[in-house]
Structures are given as structure tokens and as C-alpha cells.
């Protein structure tokens, strides 16, 4: 069964005719070209498909596209010109926070989301902010260092 919905992705309205069973991640990756959104488990456990829906971090493999009708979806592609995101990306590069890179877009989304709320978060706050996203390469330490540095001086 198909249904016409409007997804606002990265600031642009997209009217899309979707099957009601289609997941948000599939629409983002396959129809709208947001390939920074990665799939690692399909069961909501690894978190590397994280995007923001109305400003809230969610796993896009667990959400149906239909549930996002009329809502604002933000992926890394939509934040590439954002100064706070650039700061965070620079910090990730400088601190060797991306090894294989597969979790990196989701880590950046969670970090950017945290940076909006806290300009100098504690280790514990950072760990909680990224706790839903698995990274198998880094052991998280260089990511945590990056977030400390990337949050400094952010505008809230």
C-alpha cells in the first residue's frame, strides 16, 4: 500500500509516494541520496543510521518513512555548511577519531546534537551522548577527545 507523504530533509520538502512498510533509512539513502546514513544491524542496536527527526536523534532503521510525514529530517549532508559541524569534523580529523569511518557520520550527528546543548560537556555527558552508537575501531577515546575539543566555544 502506497501513501503520499512530505518529508522535509535537510531543509527541502520532498513529496514522496512510499510504501507504508518502507523504512526512513531506505528513503534517505536510496531515493534522496543521503548516503552518509549507514546501516550496520537493521535492528536498532548499532546506531550508525542515526539522523535527527525534528531535532531528536533517532535510528532511521527503526522508523518508517510514513512516520516522518511533515517532519524535519536532518542528515550529515544537511550540516556540511554548518560552522559548528565543521568545527566538530575538524576536531575528528585532528584527533584521529575516524578509523574505518563507518560510524563517523552518526557519531558526528550525536556530537553536533550534544554541542548544541553543552559547550563544555563532561566525559560522562559525552559518553552518554554517544552511548547509542557503536564504534568497533577506536575504543571511543579519540572520539571523546574530539567532542571535547569540538564543543568548545559552540554557540548555544
Amino acid at each position: 500500500m502506497k501513501r503520499l507523504i512530505t518529508l522535509n530533509v535537510n531543509g527541502t520538502d520532498h513529496p514522496i509516494n512510499v510504501d507504508v512498510t518502507v523504512r526512513l533509512i531506505d528513503v534517505l539513502r536510496d531515493q534522496l541520496g543521503a548516503r552518509s546514513v549507514k546501516e550496520g544491524c537493521s535492528t536498532g542496536d548499532c546506531g550508525i543510521c542515526a539522523v535527527l527527526v525534528d531535532g531528536k536523534l533517532v535510528n532511521s532503521c527503526l522508523m518508517l518513512a510514513g512516520q516522518c510525514d511533515g517532519r524535519r529530517v536532518t542528515t550529515l549532508e544537511g550540516l556540511l555548511d554548518d560552522p559548528e559541524m565543521k568545527r566538530m569534523q575538524g576536531s575528528f580529523i585532528a584527533n584521529n577519531a575516524a578509523q574505518c569511518g563507518f560510524c563517523t557520520p552518526a557519531m558526528l550527528m550525536a556530537s553536533w546534537d550534544l554541542a548544541r546543548r553543552a559547550s563544555s560537556p563532561t566525559d560522562e555527558e559525552i559518553k552518554v551522548a554517544i552511548s547509542g552508537i557503536l564504534c568497533r575501531c577506536t575504543g571511543y577515546y579519540q572520539i571523546i577527545d574530539s567532542i571535547h575539543q569540538g564543543c568548545k566555544g559552540t554557540r548555544r
Binding site: R29, R35, S36, K38, E39, G40, C41, S42, T43, G44, D45, C46, I48, T75, L76, E77, L80, P83, K86, R87, Q89, G90, S91, F92, I93, A94, N95, N96, A98, Q99, C100, G101, F102, C103, T104, P105, L108, I126, K127, V128, I130, S131, G132, I133, L134, C135, R136, C137, T138, G139, Y140, Y141, Q142, I143, I144, Q149, G153
Partner: protein, 781 residues
Amino acid sequence: MSEQVSELLDSLRAKAERGDLLYIGESVVRVDSLEKVLGSPVYTADLIPKGTVYAKLFHSSVPHGIIKRMELGQARSCPGVLGILTPKDIPGLNESSAVLPDRQLYADPVVRSTGDILGAVVAETYPAASDAAARIKVDYDPLPAIFDPLDALKPDAIRIHQKGNIARQMKIRKGDVEEGFSRSDVILERTYRTQFQDAVPLEPEVGLAIPEDGGVRVIGSMQSPHHTQAAVAKVLKLPPEKVHVIQAVTGGAFGPKSDETPFDVCSTAALAAVKYRRPVYCGLDREDSMVMHTKRHPFVITHKTGVTSDGMLVADESRLVGDTGAYASLGVFVIVRATFHTVGAYEIPNVKADSFLVYTDNTYSGSLRGFGGPQAIFAIESQMEELARKLGMDPLEFRLRNMLVPGKKSATSAVMDGSCGLPQCVEKVVASSNYREKAARYRNQNGNLRRGLGIALLMHGNSLGPEGNDYGAVHIEVLSDGTISVGSGLTEYGTGAMSGIMQVASSVLGVPLSRFKLERPDTSKHRESGPTVASRVVVIGGNASKQAAEKLRGRILPLAAELLKTDDKRVTMVDGMAFDRRKPSAKVEWDTIVAEAYRRGVGLKEEGFFMAPPAPWDQEVGQGTPYVQYTWGALIVEVELDMSTGYYTLVGAHAAYDVGKAVNPNGVLGQIYGGTVQGLGYAMMEELLHKDGAVVNPNLGDYYIPTSMDIPREFKAFIVEVPGPLGPFGAKIIAEPPIVLPGAAVRNAVLNASGVSVDDLPVTSEKVLMGMKLRQAPRTH
């Protein structure tokens, strides 16, 4: 920093949009960082063209049996299905095996594990292929199955393969253990067990095949593209040059992507692409990946160790049994590495070891970071702890008395040379953890929350050793715009190793890394360079890179000398500029030299090739020098344990590794942190469970890996540099070693906090609690 980085990112993005390879300044060396933080579409699944169809593998539901009949009709008539691939669709050999030819691509007619692949459904969409695959019914004649490796060794055991259940056997003989035991004051015999661990690269195994002039182009996530090419060509009965394999950016690997699963997905995609004349994507979901790919071998290891009352090791006899599951895969080399490391980083005058790699009907085992090291070191470091306790000695003092230092001999009687940096590693972690003061304090604890320290020491033979010819080729070409393009059959899959070998060339040439670009490994362009395994890229590939760069330097410097009107012995290149050493004001830029070379037709393309010296290992005698150099390390872990529940948390980790020369210190630290945390997962929580041969927890909801909440609150990592004889500038390997020690370090810390010895990994709170309850329970016998 922010403004600068912001500008830098803008310029780099512009570059990226033009299709240039991305790179950021000198302080950050990885050439592939930018594409990763931009979320660029560089992984296999990001490259799927329009019109692609999807292949879904389906696997056995019984651990051992003979396929009687496959009912495919219902699946075939599902909407969107193009067809179903079975062994009948294979024009070439039905084989997919990395070492011994004991495994088929699609099992036919015998299945030996529930991970055995039977075929693939090809459909217009992935959900359609998946739905159809669920409708396939297979009838089997069941055969008796074996799940415990010790059962497989029994004389009356059924044979899983025709040649029997032992895939490989090995031994070490040094001195006379019986004589050693007769001189020992204390003898301890104890058995340790380890579990299946899943590598969990966040990107599962995926392959994309596109029909291409008389053959097929294959793009996939893998460690060794040339091996994949050979495997696919064999299945499709094509000449290798008609199978054009490109390694896409790979989202983590850790070992299994050097084994058979990349062959399986790429061969399936290629078969379907040729059959249906469509691009085909064969990507495993997490569950299929965890069922179908190789895991870390469970081991049963028994040590009998003799020691004098003053704490000197005299003799050790060990028996190692590794469960390779249904197929040998890389297990034939895992058992070798495990055996060489059976007494760890200690000198023992009399050593006897016998090891067996055995088949069972569990899903198969193969490569996983550490490659036999984590199992062997868990056993021997647990044994050292138990011996120290039996002797009433401090576990650190006991280790210091017996550990390998320059001049001492390993289990195979290899004499440790001056490149053994173990003492320096121990010194670092002992000081950092404040071990002596804390260990004394923690001996008398009474409260409910108790602390404990655990130590483990590492020796890790570098590169392949006797596992095969240890070579690598790297080519470097200077393009007309001055860009230095580096290519190899060796691959990058996350560690930053390829940036490391470019850094080597960069330092030889005196040109900053920002002028370098890394070519995507491509079998039509790059020479076969052996497997990308064993953390050998920087050591072996680094030497090849150094050689190629030196040859280029030999062409560049005379040209520069001419331009500077001086003698080429007086010329040096620094930061992309050639100087006359005696007249530093006279300089000429890299681009000018390159332009001059192009004007004169001086070729600026060189290849470097390096082969490690052979490892003289006598397998008949069980003695020799299997490795040219070793990585050394020490780890101290501190835990806090709740005596009422057995629950414990990691307070601190102190790690030091002798890497010879840290080519990229930030990258080395990344390996120490990442490998240690993956090892802590192995120590504390990770266990892929089989029940009657079926994987019980093939998903990340039931198979836990460490999250950010699980890591030690404090982590101090130290780089020790005692140059080795093998790697460029003295470099030793570092990606694998840090995963080796956490198993024993955590186990020993938990023991020192609670008094409970957990001899089978992982060290769960349940086991600790059970141990405490058993100790309290009144003896009934």
C-alpha cells in the same frame, strides 16, 4: 583552531567535489580522514548503480547432514524474483576456501554447519529476495554432529571430513620437561577455555558485481582483492584478468574479510551478474554475517607448569585444541601462532607443546585480530597468576623474574636480541598504575566494593613468520602536476596503515603528505602483494614503499642539483623544496623539478618490492626462529567489584607497547585504545553462542560489544620505541597486539579483587558470583 579548520574544510570539500583525493595538513596524516567526516559515498553500498538487483544467500538449518531435496518453487514464484542460484549454476569449481580446499561455495550435498551456504535468491529488491529466501524448504538426511572440539579428537568420533577431524597438528620441543618437573618445587596443572568471538566490523561483508566486457567488475569490502579475484575466477571459470576486483573503502574488517566471506558474496554477485546481465549486489545483513563469516577460534588449553620455590620457571607442558568449526579456513595458521606463543613472554628452559586444530560442526572459525594470540596469552597469563598465588609471591615480581629480556630464549629457543623492549613496557605501566603501592593496599580489603589489579605481558611475533611468503609491492608515480600517487595490492580498512606507508615515502622524498594520493586497490592496476593481514602493511609494505621512494629520490636529486647548479651529494629535500646544504638560500620547488623531469622525459614511476627474510622453523624438531622481530607490551587493568553481586567495572587501564618506531603516534594510540577495548569486550562480555550447532545470538542486541559506557574510566597509553630489525625505521606491528592482553588482565584483576578464578572467557559477573557462592557453600562430600 575553528576558523582555520573551517577554511580548510571548505577548500578540501571543493577538492572533493572535483574528485580529488582528500587530505589535510601535516599534523594530521591520514589521507582518508576527510572523506570519512564528510560522510562521502565511498563504501560499496554507496556505489550501487541504478538497475541493480539483489542477491540474498540462504544457509543450512542443520549442523550436519546430506541435502535430500531443495524445494525452490514457492520462492521462485515470489514477486520480483529473477531466479535462484544453486550449485548447478556454477560453471567452474564449487569451491570457496582460503587455504585447504575443504569448503564449497554452496554446500552440496553435505552440510557441516548451520553456517553453510546453500545458494542465493536473486530479486529486484532486497526485501523481495529476503522474503523469497524464507520460503525455501530443504530436506536433509541428518548425520550425527560434534560440537565440542575435545569430542572430535576421540578415536570413535564420526569424521566430519574424509581425512579425519584434525586439520593441523603442531609441536614445540625444548629441553626435557620431565627432567624439569622433577626439579620443580611446585607443579600446577590447569585448563583454560576461550569462546567464539565475532569481529563485528560495522560494515558487514558486501560485494557488487557489474557485467563488463566478457567478464565482470567486482567492487567489495575486503582485505585482499587479489585473493578475491582468484576465488571468483575459479567459480566463474573465467581467466583472472576477466574478473576485475576493486576494493571499495572498507568499513572495518578485523580478519574475517581476509577469509572466505568476501569470496562468497563476490562470487555470488558475479555469478548472478553474468547470468542475468544486471549489476548485482550481494550484501550480508548483520545476522547472516554473524552466522556465515569466520569467528575467533574457541580453544581448550591445558598447562602443566613447574616452578622452584624461589619463583623460577623450570618446565611447561601445554596442549592446545582449537575449534575451527566446519572448515579449516585460516585456522591452519591461527594454530601456528597460538602454539608459538604458548608460554607467552617468559623464558622457560623446558617446553613441550602439542596443538591440534580440529573440525566440529559449529560454524567455522578463522582470522580475527590477534590470530591465536588472545587464546594462548589468556591461558599462560592466567597460569602465571595462579602460580604466583601458589608461591605466595607478588604476581609482578614473579613475572619480572621470568620474563624475556635481551639474551633470553623463547619457547622455540630463539634468542631475544636487543630489540626486546618488554622491560621498558613493564616499567611504564607499573609506574603509571602506581602498582606497588596499590597492590599492597588492596591485599587487605573488607568492604563490599573491592579493587583488584591484573597484569598481562605480551610478546607478539611480527608479520607472517612461517605462515607464508611475507612480501609486498608498492608503486609510486609522480604525476605531471607533482602529485605523488601511491598504489598497492595491500589495502586500507581502517587502521591508517596505508597512510603510514605513504608517510614513509613522504619522509624519504622530503615532500609533505599533502602532495600524496592513495589509489584504490584494483587488480587491473596493482600487483598482487599477498594478503593484507597480520598488521603487516607498515612493516612489509613500508619497506617496499621506502625502496620505491629511494629509487625516485635517486632520479629527483640529480635533477635538483642541476637546477641548483651544484653537486647532487649536496642536495637535500625538505618540505617539498630542494636545497643546497652549503647554500640554503638556493632552493628549487618540487613542482619545478617534476616539470623539468617531464620536459626531459625522465620517468618518475617506480616500484618497490620487499620480502621478509625466511623464518628458519623446523617443524619436525619443533625448534627454530619463527619471527624476525616481536612487538612487546604490558597491560595493567584495575577493576572495582561488588562482592554481593559479582558485578565489576573498569577503573583504569595502563598499556605500553614497544612499536619500534611509531610512524604515526596518533595512529598508534588509536590502535592501542581500539584494540584494547575490543579485547575488553572479549574479556568481559562477548560470546557468540551455539546451541546444537545453531548460532543463538547473531545480532547486536544479544551479542554485546563495548559501548562508550563500558570503557575504563581512565586509560593511559604509552609508546615505547626500541627499534626492530625488520620494519622501516625500526617499526614493529601494532594493530593486532593490543587485543591480546585484556582477557588475562581482566581475569587476573577480578581474581585479585574477589578471590575467584574464572578460567573460561568471558569473565562475566555471573561466573564471579557463582565462584563466590561455591566458595561459601559448605562442602557436602
